[in-house]
């Protein structure tokens, strides 16, 4: 997961004498159980079936696999946009609500995060399918005359993943929105800004760091998502993680699996670097 972990406070603690020891167990754990195995898998991408770059040539030279890359970006982009459009007003509402109420709403949002991912995804399947609750209700109300295709396609993936990603937009936004002094908005209004101007020229720019952090986190998490696209999408919107799973589990072709995984990792790291460079909330503040 990508989070801006290197806050100023963190760096100070690291520099303080002797405290590095407390970080060591965690770091060792990550090195032994994450970094080393990942490196081993990635090595296979250039060693199997024979040393060389043939896996990458095949991966990047095939229109099928390029389509999977495109799908991955389209889905991640779509989910990010929809999450931001829905999440921003919710975060704003939470920021200006009385504390007692906002805590309750926040609890509901977080509770949904704690529910098992598979259970939530299956629930969407039941809701969205042709014979599901949503279609049946719309049919009986006479709004539609034949069931809408809401699942096993891009629509299903977008709905299911947006639902899962929403908290990751809302939570960082609340913090930033709360830190904006309401007096600034009042001042803008007094100076003659209408509601739209207040939002576009005052609130939005001030909340941009939180928005960017949330949006980028959603985008990056979506890139590597597996369960929800696999269950709610059709094979024609296959994403990268599914391709990796096919190579590793079904075709047992670890060279290709490693190559696909490395491409995904590089894209993620590049995006993370962009975030650090341009949208680091600590620097912007």
């Amino acid at each position: 997961m990508v989070m801006s972990a290197t806050t100023d406070g963190g760096q100070r603690t690291l520099r303080r004498d002797g405290s590095f020891g407390y970080v060591a167990p965690g770091l060792l754990l990550i090195v032994f159980f994450f970094v080393v195995p990942v490196l081993m898998l990635l090595m296979r991408s250039v060693l199997e079936p024979a040393p060389g770059l043939q896996n990458y040539v095949e991966l990047l030279g095939s229109t099928t696999y390029l389509r999977v890359f495109m799908n991955t970006f389209i889905v991640a982009g779509l989910v990010t946009v929809v999450s931001v459009l829905i999440g921003y007003p919710v975060a704003w509402l939470l920021a200006i609500m009385p504390d007692r109420w906002s805590r309750l709403v926040l609890a509901i949002i977080i509770l949904s995060m704690w529910t098992n991912l598979l259970a939530r995804t299956y629930a969407w399947m039941v809701l969205l399918q042709r014979t599901g609750v949503i279609n049946k209700t719309l049919l009986s109300l006479g709004i539609i005359d034949k069931p809408l295709s809401l699942v096993n396609n891009l629509v299903g993936v977008t709905i299911g993943m947006t639902y899962i990603m929403l908290p990751f937009v809302i939570l960082p936004l609340i913090g930033v929105l709360k830190s904006i002094d309401p007096a600034i908005l009042r001042a803008a209004a007094l100076c003659g800004a209408n509601k739209r101007q207040c939002f576009a020229r005052v609130l939005l720019p001030l909340s941009l760091p939180g928005l960017a952090a949330g949006a980028l986190m959603v985008f990056v998490m979506s890139l590597g998502y597996y369960v929800t696209p696999a269950l709610l999408g059709g094979t024609s919107n296959m994403m990268l993680a599914e391709l990796v799973a096919q190579f590793v589990q079904s075709l047992v072709n670890w060279g290709m699996g490693g190559a696909a995984a490395l491409v995904l990792l590089i894209v993620t790291l590049v995006l993370y670097a962009i975030q650090l460079k341009f949208f680091n909330p600590n620097r912007a503040r």
Binding site: S62, S236, Q249
Partner: protein, 335 residues
């Protein structure tokens, strides 16, 4: 210094964990109603031998390969697809079976290799939810006919014997001329219904799709339809040109419980175990003595009694072309 202490601690922890499991063995299968039935013979095995059988799953060929390569094999007996068993045996991933412990004279010779014996065998059949539609498709050709049978239909998502054969049969290829598979022709036929296919990736999902009429018909493992019918869903099975394939039991190379694994396979393939399993699942037994032990009604509902027009998927052909077909299959799906 700290690093060494931590490594030592882990070594001790894992060492103990290993010892604690020494008296057990692990059996891995595909979950769902099928593994529930396999658990029955695992339980009677424990009763007879005092060897505890831990159930794990689902079978995952990537995980299996990782265990064997790292030398840390935690699965002792694994239920795999027949074509995979043949391929993995040739690739050196499996232990040779000990036929002094397993009596192969009683086992269906079609599924016996040096490295594997049958686990059970099943058919891909045309299934239909009778309550959801006026008429049910009866043949593979019907299932591929979107004019006579409009709407969604469901097929097995993974590359495995079954769907390619069904497409070719639907396109008019005679059963005895299926192999070698004409992949171009099969994919062309599949193209005609691609937009109407919902894929199922597990037996449970296939049941859900049929029961909810999300896909009122499709290609199913026969046992899953039998199980569904028992829950009150009016699931109709058409056996026309049913396509059989088998699961196999294998022992991963480097298992620490080799003898227990062999004994377990001997027990799992015994006439009695196979009889009970077949009665519970609707899949056919691979022990040649089992049919005589079954009551006639159950007996007649099993795949091996549906021999008329039956097509046996060619496991050897698949073992040889598994990777090639798989690659094309997934590339076609993603298109």
């Amino acid at each position: 210094m700290k690093k060494h202490t931590i490594i030592a601690l882990f070594a001790i922890a894992f060492g103990f964990a290993g010892q604690a499991n020494a008296a057990d063995m692990v059996f891995t299968s595909w979950g769902g109603t099928t593994q529930d039935a396999q658990k029955e013979y695992a339980d009677s095995f424990t009763e007879n031998t005092k060897i505890n059988v831990v159930q794990d799953g689902p079978t995952d060929y990537g995980k299996l390969k990782a265990m064997i390569e790292s030398g840390n094999v935690t699965w002792d007996v694994v239920d795999v697809e027949g074509d995979y068993a043949v391929q993995a045996g040739k690739a050196g991933l499996l232990e040779k079976l000990d036929f002094t412990i397993i009596d192969k004279s009683k086992l269906d010779p079609r599924f016996v290799t040096d490295y594997s014996v049958g686990s059970f065998y099943y058919s891909f059949v045309v299934g239909c939810n009778k309550d959801a539609v006026d008429t049910c498709p009866k043949t593979w050709a019907d299932l591929f006919d979107t004019t006579k049978f409009p709407g969604k239909r469901t097929f097995y998502k993974w590359s495995a014997p079954g769907v390619i054969e069904a497409a070719l049969l639907a396109d008019g290829v005679p059963a005895e001329k299926l192999y070698p598979l004409d992949l171009d022709r099969a994919f062309k036929k599949l193209d005609t219904i691609k937009a109407d296919i919902i894929w199922w990736d597990s037996g449970a999902q296939s049941q859900q799709l049929l029961a909810s009429a999300e896909a009122p018909y499709g290609s199913f493992w026969n046992g899953r339809l039998t199980a569904l019918a028992l829950t009150g869903v009016t699931a109709e099975t058409s056996w026309a040109n049913n396509i059989t394939a088998a699961d196999s039991l294998v022992v991963p190379k480097g298992t620490k419980n080799k003898e227990a694994a062999m004994k377990f396979i001997a027990h799992a393939t015994s006439a009695e175990s196979q009889t009970n399993f077949a009665a519970a699942t609707g899949y056919a037994p691979i022990n040649l003595d089992s049919p005589a032990l079954m009551d006639p009604d159950t007996r007649n509902s099993l795949p091996d009694k549906k021999a008329e027009g039956q097509v046996n998927a060619d496991m050897n052909y698949w073992a040889e072309h598994r990777d090639e077909i798989g690659k094309r299959w997934y590339a076609w799906q993603a298109k």
